[in-house]
């Protein structure tokens, strides 16, 4: 057979000038294509943060294509592939978009000073520095290296850390590392209650 098959081995439209592989006129399509308003959506697999069924969800965002553009969440759907929820969501999960985009969110670090009746804004660096200073001072004051029997205990009992229910494993592990290395004994989590 004499047909130069390989020469046709381009896909239908790529590189074609004016005609498609079968010979359809591409001009009208090209004209139409330049007038289309196309958006680029990213779909992110996430997990519902509420109960322990851990329903899979897919979060749709637009605007990730361009740099310096904050993506916007436009839709949250159940993950159709998820073996447990199979695309369904409960009334809490179904309204997750309202949790992701919520005007009650805290947006700035704040501090309430002793005796004060209001919040003040505080720069991040200052907040971190103040917290670290207080933390160190407290540890240096209360750290116990040996108990009354002379046994090494290396513990710090005057500081507590309370972890939440939606903290990830990895974050919790950072907590364990940082807190246990400082000797914190009062380490608790929503898991207890």
């Amino acid at each position: 057979m004499d047909l130069s098959r390989r020469s046709f081995l381009k896909t239908g439209v790529a590189g074609a000038v004016g005609l498609s592989a079968l010979g359809f006129d591409l001009q009208p399509l090209q004209a139409q294509s330049s007038s289309l308003k196309i958006s680029r959506t990213s779909q992110t697999r996430s997990t519902c943060p509420y109960c322990s069924v851990s329903c899979g969800i897919i979060i749709h965002t637009i605007g990730d294509g361009a740099k310096n553009v904050t993506p916007q969440v436009v839709h949250v759907e159940g993950d159709p592939d998820h073996p447990i929820n199979r695309g369904t969501l409960c009334p809490k999960g179904a309204s997750l978009l309202q949790d992701i985009v919520n005007d009650r969110r805290l947006l700035k670090p704040q501090v309430r000073r002793p005796g004060s009746d209001h919040w003040e804004d505080i720069p991040w660096d200052q907040a971190i520095d103040e917290i670290a200073t207080r933390t160190k001072a407290l540890r240096d004051a209360d750290f116990i290296e040996q108990d009354k029997n002379g046994k090494t205990v290396n513990r710090w009992e005057s500081m507590a850390f309370a972890g939440g229910c939606t903290d990830t494993n990895e974050f919790n592990y950072l907590v364990v590392k940082s807190m246990r290395s400082m000797g914190v004994t009062c380490l608790e989590n929503q898991a207890r209650v």
């Binding site: 109960c51 229910c165 898991a191």
Partner: protein, 835 residues
């Protein structure tokens, strides 16, 4: 959960008790409905209220809050009386045949042998198995007795006739839980209880193992002063009936939050280290002492085999220490074991607040944890915070804890006196963070960040890292007490100030630090490679792993937690390639028990794993939770995490603090004296607190109504009160009140009522309902009420002034279970009046 959400579809029988999954886990509940629809599975629901779950039940029984052990104990009694067990499973897979030490005494009077009335603790030495031929060596006179240990060679009686064998003791213990006694304690009419017991145990009629039944529970069991023992009773029923390890069986805890399973695994709690390693005590003077104490030795009938997986404790521990301290942990310095804090008392949730109230705790960091709302005895928590120096709250919404200093009722003068500095740092929402959550079914599912945090919010890990690194910097510069652990903590992240969670996840899995070879399979993991599983962990410092339980989750093959292949060729709902579940991707734990002694599945229609004679290996649709090459002939027990290799009907030497068998004790605040032993009404070792704010109510003081607390399907804890849709669905707090009681009070639905406990008052509208009925408890007419927990003093409805702005947990008492240290949120006494 020993099993998983999807696995519920395989069941023939469900007991849902101490949980309300239709309400709190609707999408998981789908599988309950599937079982009902496709297998005609039966559902028995036992709850203080007729719940949304109860609407799906074939039988509903209203129980008095906090009397679950009595009902379950009655079921054990019924099952034994009616031979609703399979002897093969019972004898070979549980410790029913083990002989218990002479001197062990059942709690006819409410106390097991060994109780120390002054210290309120047990000497647990008699809570042990009889050793064949008695103890090998008597301790020399004068020297202190060694700590109780399990005997390596356990006496047993396969005929189960020995009066001191576990089965006979079990029978004796629960023979007291007659239908009449159960009715007195629980308020469930005995004919109803008998019907429910008969239905549930009917799956094991004539010992036929074909069917499987599951027990599903949640914090309705946990949040009691005998919470752990309640769950144990359920586990015992499942062992007795041979339901553990089987598809459609198991003991299934439905956890309430997206990642508290993970938080427990990672040990975000005071009493353990990651992977359920035990916390060191001051007596553990070096690593060896610690490992000797914490590494169990096999304890079994001589002829049997036991895998005793915890014998690998040294490898797990050392790998963890290497993860913590990296190169600073060397064999020479005991892998820096001494830098770990050593504890000899409890620092559990309620104890922390008590310590803070007593001025012992001066600083607190709360990351997404709303302690004022959670309580118990929330007002005490507010008072405690007033005494602290500083509080750091990382949150996404304005919450009650960060605003404790302006809790309703605080006057401007009082506010001026509150000296606590509060930092409120805006963290990131779930959609802004990646990382893994572990669901109830132990699935580690990685999630990806969809959007960056808004405004000036930061990722939680960045906030924590910056605080820690700032502290470290200060120690570096200024020095201070024991700075080494801080300075030498391994923190090798590409961006230490904002560690990538993927890097941390890899660290959790662990990697080889030197080449590691598995002799059996002759595979070598090269240094710096991710470990494929915990079998490769070593105790010589050649491996590191942040959490041995998660070893295998992020291997050289990549992040298994990110797998999203929904395929389920067996149709059993295993989905082995969807994410990853601990341990080693096993979806049903103890699945060896799904086979008979010869390794053949009890039910050929639900083949989970089986012994392949051809390959001389265990094979399966699921990953066998067993030693892969253990020939059934060796009689290795399926419960590989127990030193015995079998399931524990009897728990020896104080693994459970309040007794080897569960016993019914009254809740701390109870309307009656325990009908079993009025002299010892409550759990003798449950902890109460003694501060001036810890008050406990009695019927004599007028607190005559039982109150329980719970969640609604439309809301999620203290979170969705910021979400308009959920607020629309259920706008306001309310108190559910039995219609009968409301009639007596002349109360109509929608009118306001005041609920008073010994600790606080709570005002909300009344929901008069027929779903809670008055009960006869030990001959006394008793009423229960219920309050959903979702409202506090910050939220859409709260800010609009639509609620009384009092958290429900102002009411609840600080009493904690002696094993899990969980407070008794369910079942305390209140009075009820019109407001």
């Amino acid at each position: 959960m020993t099993n998983g959400w999807v696995d519920i579809k395989n069941t023939d029988m469900m007991l849902i008790m101490g949980g309300n999954p239709a309400e709190n886990h609707p999408c998981g509940f789908k599988w309950v409905v599937e079982a009902k629809r496709n297998r005609n599975a039966k559902i028995i629901v036992v709850d203080p209220r007729f719940t949304r779950t109860a609407t799906q039940a074939d039988q509903f029984l209203q129980i008095r809050a906090g009397s679950d052990i009595a009902f379950l104990g009655g079921m054990i009694n019924f099952a034994i009386q009616n031979k609703r067990y399979n002897e093969e499973y019972l004898v070979n897979y549980t410790n029913a045949a083990f002989v218990v030490k002479d001197g062990f005494k059942l709690p006819e009077d409410g106390l097991y042998s060994g109780f120390d009335t002054n210290a309120k603790t047990y000497d647990k030495s008699t809570w042990n198995y009889e050793e064949v031929g008695g103890p090998a060596a008597k301790p020399a006179a004068g020297s202190p007795p060694p700590p109780p240990a399990l005997p390596p060679n356990v006496a047993y009686d396969l005929s189960l006739q020995n009066p001191r064998c576990v089965f006979q003791l079990l029978k004796q213990q629960y023979s007291r839980y007659t239908p009449e006694m159960v009715e007195r304690i629980t308020g469930i009419p005995k004919d109803q209880a008998l019907k429910a017991w008969d239905t549930f145990t009917s799956i094991r009629q004539n010992g036929n193992m074909k069917k499987a039944g599951t027990i599903i529970y949640a914090v309705g069991w946990t949040q009691h002063s005998s919470g752990t023992q309640t769950i144990r009773t359920a586990a015992m029923i499942q062992l007795l009936l041979g339901n553990v390890g089987r598809a459609g069986g198991g003991v299934n805890a439905l956890r309430g939050h997206s990642n508290i399973q993970g938080a427990t695994d990672i040990a975000g709690v005071f009493d353990i280290l990651p992977g359920y390693l035990k916390m060191p005590t001051p007596a553990d003077t070096d690593l060896k002492a610690y490992l000797t104490r914490t590494t169990p030795k096999a304890s079994k009938p001589k002829e049997w085999d036991s895998f005793n997986y915890w014998s690998n404790t040294p490898a797990f521990t050392v790998s963890f220490l290497k993860a913590l301290y990296g190169d600073a942990a060397t064999k020479e310095n005991d892998f820096a074991f001494n830098w770990l804090p050593k504890i000899d008392r409890k620092y559990s949730w309620a104890e922390i607040w008590d310590d803070m109230y007593n001025g012992k705790i001066k600083g607190m960091m709360a990351f997404g944890m709303n302690g004022v709302m959670i309580g118990p005895n929330g007002k005490k928590n507010i008072e405690a915070l007033k005494k602290a120096d500083f509080l750091v709250v990382c949150e996404i919404y304005p919450d009650e804890t960060s605003e404790f200093w302006r809790a309703p009722g605080t006057t401007p003068d009082e506010m001026k006196k509150i000296q606590t500095t509060v930092y409120r740092l805006p963290g990131a929402g779930f959609a802004e963070k990646d990382g893994t959550f572990v669901n109830s079914a132990r699935w580690l599912q990685w999630k990806w960040a969809a959007v960056p945090p808004p405004g000036d919010c930061r990722l939680d890990q960045e906030i924590l890292a910056r605080i820690f690194l700032k502290v470290r910097e200060k120690y570096q510069k200024e020095g201070g007490k024991l700075a080494d652990p801080i300075l030498k903590l391994s923190w090798n992240y590409t961006n230490p100030y904002n560690p990538s969670l993927a890097e941390i996840a890899k660290e959790l899995n662990g990697k080889a630090l030197a080449d590691v070879t598995d002799q059996k399979t002759n595979t070598t993991i090269k240094a710096d490679q991710q470990l494929p599983g915990f079998a490769f962990l070593r105790d010589d410092g050649s491996t590191m792993s942040g959490n041995w339980l998660y070893c295998g989750s992020w291997t050289e093959a990549g992040a298994l937690t990110q797998r999203r292949d929904p395929a389920d060729p067996s149709g059993l709902g295993i989905h082995a390639n969807w994410a990853w579940s601990w341990p080693m991707n096993r979806r049903v734990m103890y699945n060896r028990a799904s086979c008979d002694l010869n390794g053949k599945p009890w039910d050929p229609d639900r083949k989970q794993v089986w012994w392949s004679e051809a390959k001389q290996k265990w094979a399966g649709n699921d990953v066998p939770d067993f030693k892969a090459d253990s020939d059934p002939k060796t009689h290795m027990g399926p419960f590989i995490m127990n030193p015995e290799g079998v399931g524990r009907l009897f728990v020896p030497i104080g693994a459970v603090a309040d007794g080897p068998f569960p016993e019914h004790y009254e809740p701390t605040e109870s309307p009656i004296a325990n009908p079993l032993h009025p002299g010892q009404s409550n759990n003798p070792i449950a902890k109460r607190f003694k501060s001036d704010m810890d008050k406990y109510g009695t019927v004599e003081q007028g607190f005559n109504i039982i109150c329980t607390t719970y969640r609604l399907t439309e809301h999620y804890h203290y979170w969705t009160k910021n979400n308009p849709m959920n607020v629309q669905l259920v706008p306001e707090p309310f108190v559910e009140i039995p219609a009968e009681l409301a009639d007596q009070m002349g109360l109509r639905g929608g009118e306001k009522v005041k609920v008073t406990s010994a600790r606080a008052e709570y005002i909300a509208k009344a929901m008069v309902t027929k779903r809670i009925k008055g009960m006869m408890i030990d001959g006394k007419k008793t009423y229960q009420i219920g309050i959903p927990i979702h409202w506090g003093f910050r939220g859409i409805a709260e800010d609009e002034g639509k609620t009384a702005k009092t958290p429900v947990n102002y009411l609840s008492p600080a009493v904690i279970d002696p094993n899990a240290y969980t407070p008794e949120f369910k079942g305390f006494l209140v009075k009820l009046e019109r407001a």
